[in-house]
Amino acid sequence: MSAATAQVPSRATPRATSRGATQVLFDAPGPKGRRRILLLSVVSAVVILGVLAAGLWTFAENGELDPDKWVVYLRADYLAFLGHGLLGTLKVTAVAAVVAFPAGLLLALARMSRLSVLSRASTVWIEFFRGIPMLLVVYAFLLALPAYGVTFPRFWMLVIPMILVSAASTAEVFRAGIKAVDVGQHEAAAAIGLGRRHALVHVILPQAVRLVLPSLILALVTLLKDSTLGYVVSYNELQFQGKTMVSITRYLVQTYLVVSLIYIVINFLLTRVALALDARMKARASAG
C-alpha cells in the first residue's frame, strides 16, 4: 500500500537535461521494431476495448445501464449523501497527513541520529509499521485495544493507524531525500562554520524537502486510498457512505462506479500536482 511513496526524484545534475538522461538507456527502435510496437499496441488496444465492450454488454443485458439507475446520482439528496462521505474522506486524509508527515520527518532524523539507541529504536519502529498491513493496525484499534479497555472514537480508530503507517513510510521518503542532498553541501556547511543542527536546518532540510515534495504528494494519494478502510470501523468516509447507499438502493454497480470515479478524479489531480512540481524542480536544477 505504500509502493508509490518509495520513489524520490533523482537530483538532476546541472546541464544533464532530463531528456538527455533518458535517451542514454533507450535505443531508438528501427523500422522492424517500430512495426512490432505498432502491432502490439493495436492488438492490446483491441483486447482492452473488447473486454470493456463485453463488460458493458453484460451490464446492458442485466439492465444495469438503465438510465433510471444512473440519473438518481444527480439528485440533491444522493449527492449530499456521497458529499458527506467525501468530506469525511478529505478530513481523515488531511488530519492524517498533517500529523504523519512531520512525524515521518522526525522518525527519519531519529533513524539517522548519531545516538545508536535512538537510531535503532526508530529503525525498528519504521520497519514494523512499514511491513504490517494497515488493516491489521485498524483491527488492533477496533478489536484488540478495546479488549484491554482502551477505546477511541471512530474517527481516531481510522486516523491513528493511518498516521502510524504513513509516518513510517514517509520517514523513508525523507531519509532518501536527506541522503540525496549533495555531499558537498554537508562539507560546505561545515566549512563556513555551521554546527550540525544549523547545517541540518538551514542547508540540508530545505533542499531535502524540496527534493521529496513530489513523493510526499504521492504519499497523500496513498493516504487517501487507505482512508477507505474506514468501512472497517464504520466511519462515514466516501466508501462507507457508498456501501450504506448500496444497502438502501441496491444499485451496487452504479454506486461503486460513481465512488471510484470520485477517487480517481481526486487522485488524478493530486498526481498532476506532483508531476508539475517535479518538472518545475528539474527545470530549476538544470538552470545552471
Binding site: 562539507e187 560546505a188 563556513i192 530549476r284 545552471g288
Partner: protein
C-alpha cells in the same frame, strides 16, 4: 601566524594521508600548497579550521592550539573558499554571503550593507544580489564564494582549489583579481592547488608536496625555479622539460625573450628585467 608541528594524519584502516609535516605560515603571507592528488594538501589545509583533526602533532594559530578551540567558532573566524563554490543553492547570493556574519550576531542590515560592499570588491554587479547560484556563471559563483569567505572579515583565508572548476580565461581573471585583493587586504592565505603555474602566480611562498604530505621543497617561486631541490621538483615545475627556460633573441634591435617552444614571452627592458 599559522604553525604546523610534526603533524600526522592516519585514517582507520592504515592509510597515511600525512606522515610528518611541519610548516610555519607568516601573517599576511600567501602560502600555496601544491601537489598531485594524494599529496595530503587538502587534508593539511583542513587541519587549520579543524575540518580534519591530526592523529598526532599540533596546529596552532597565533600560538593557540586549534585543538583547544571550538570547531564551529573557529570555522566562523576563518574564511573558506572551496572548489565549485559550495554555495547554498536554495539561498540568494546576498543570503549566501550574509549567512556567517548573521550567525556571528551581526545585525541583518549591517551584514547586508557589508555584503553589497564585498560584492563590489570581488567584481559582482549589485543586480546579482537577489539571484540564485544556479542563475550565475561559474566565474560569478566563484566570486560569490570569495565574497562569502571574506564576509566575516577573517584574518585567515583558506582556499581549496578555488579556481579549479572554471575555464582557463575566467581562471586567469580570478587569479589576477585575487592578487589585487590581497594587495589591499593582506590576509594570511593558505591556498591549495595542483596547478604549479597558479601556485607560482598566487604564492608569496610555495610548498611542493610529495605523496604523504612530505615537503619536497619550500621557497619563493624564484628560489624554486632557480634551484629545484631534486628531480621530483624539477619535473613538477617543468624545469626538466625545459619548459621554464627562456632565452633572449635579438629582433629589430630589441631583446625579445623567447620560451623553449620558440614563443615570444616578452621584451627585455633597459633595466635587464623581463616584462611579460
Amino acid at each position: 601566524m599559522i604553525g604546523f608541528e610534526n603533524v600526522r594524519k592516519e585514517y582507520p584502516g592504515g592509510t597515511i594521508a600525512v606522515e610528518d609535516f611541519s610548516l610555519e605560515v607568516a601573517s599576511h603571507e600567501s602560502m600555496v600548497l601544491v601537489g598531485t592528488s594524494g599529496s595530503g594538501k587538502t587534508t593539511l589545509m583542513r587541519m587549520i579550521n579543524r575540518m580534519v583533526d591530526p592523529t598526532s602533532g599540533r596546529v596552532h594559530i597565533d600560538g593557540d592550539d586549534v585543538a583547544g578551540l571550538d570547531p564551529v567558532k573557529l570555522r566562523r573566524s576563518v574564511g573558506y573558499v572551496m572548489q565549485a563554490s559550495g554555495l547554498l543553492p536554495h539561498r540568494t547570493v546576498l543570503d549566501n554571503i550574509t549567512t556567517v556574519p548573521v550567525l556571528r550576531g551581526t545585525s541583518k542590515n549591517e551584514a547586508r550593507s557589508r555584503a553589497h560592499e564585498l560584492m563590489e570588491t570581488v567584481g559582482l554587479d549589485a543586480a546579482l544580489a537577489s539571484r540564485y547560484p544556479a542563475q550565475l556563471s561559474g566565474g560569478q559563483q566563484q566570486r560569490v564564494g570569495v565574497a562569502r569567505g571574506l564576509a566575516a572579515d577573517p584574518n585567515i583565508l583558506l582556499m581549496d582549489e578555488p579556481f579549479g572548476a572554471v575555464d582557463p580565461i575566467v581562471r586567469g581573471e580570478l587569479q589576477q583579481e585575487l592578487l589585487h585583493l590581497q594587495r589591499d587586504l593582506r590576509k594570511t592565505i593558505v591556498f591549495v592547488t595542483h596547478d604549479i603555474d597558479e601556485a607560482f602566480l598566487v604564492g608569496d611562498r610555495v610548498v611542493i608536496l610529495r605523496p604523504g604530505g612530505v615537503i619536497a621543497q619550500i621557497g619563493t617561486p624564484q628560489e624554486i625555479l632557480a634551484d629545484p631541490a631534486d628531480d621530483f621538483v624539477a619535473s613538477f615545475v617543468g624545469a626538466d622539460r625545459g619548459a621554464r627556460t627562456l632565452h633572449v633573441e635579438r629582433t629589430d634591435g630589441q631583446d625579445v625573450v623567447v620560451d623553449a617552444d620558440g614563443r615570444a614571452a616578452g621584451v627585455l627592458d633597459a633595466g635587464g628585467r623581463s616584462t611579460s
